[in-house]
Amino acid sequence: MPTETILNATANAEAGSSVLVRARNSPYVGVLVTDAATTVTIKAPRTIVSRGEFQALADWWHEATGHLSDPDQIARHAAYQRILELGRKDRATVLRYVLEDLRDRGGHWYAALRTLADQSPVAPEHRGKTRLMKQDWLRWARQRDIIA
């Protein structure tokens, strides 16, 4: 994976741990990897998933699954699975695209978000309440400067 070291900084992360970040005032989105207890570098992979490719898949998915109620059936759609595949190549970019799509068009993106972010900010009492789940995810994303 091509990387560019763009800053050194301090962070409260243990050596060897990784955190998904977007550097402030920088176009780089990447994985924050600690190489010592307090020194970090941002390894910024070049974007390899284009917005157009994501958009075409997301359009297909919305159109083909919007009338469904079963979240598992919605997530099994080929376009959704292809988006997850793209996320394995370029996790930070695809995560940002999915969050922007959730913000702008909604949809049952939650299984994909958990996979891409490797966590869930949804409060236990908000489970199954999609309006509140969406709020939790967008707040999480904005706190990390992933989306505007």
């Binding site: 159109e63 919007g66 109620s69 079963d70 598992d72 909604g106 949809g107 489970r127 309006r131």
Partner: protein
Amino acid sequence: LLPRALSSDLLLYHENLTPENHHVTSLDTDEYNCIAWALDDQDNWWWPSDDPEDAFWPNDVPRVPTVDAFLQAFATKGYELCQSSEREAGYEKIALFVLGGIPQHAARQLDNGQWTSKLGRYEDIEHTDLEALTDRTYGSVELILRRPRAGEAARQQRRRARQTGNRA
């Protein structure tokens, strides 16, 4: 301003819906789904999804997409099986659509005898009959359930309380 009928793209999935047998009654929203709408709940997305985070499902009901599990879920809200989809004074009714043994959709009967449905995360519609949504997407109606209307339930409770009091 609401569109009169669903978009032609969506009608492709429901070959028996026509501009004459339905009209749109809300904007689209992903805040609740057809099961929630049938149960008059606009805060939850009901489904026995694999991951409990993705959808609400009653705790004591098996989290599997079977007709029996849906029957149990509706029972938590006071619904029981009945035979007819005809309007019955004092009762509200739900129809469960099933395709290949797997529940797909639910519709709720209105006071006027017509039905209301939420189509996934698209709009709510009012449709003249259950045949309007009997199709290759939602399948066909396998269960009809009913419960006393809210006022009727209270009346029945008062009647039971009176009878109990008279016996005592």
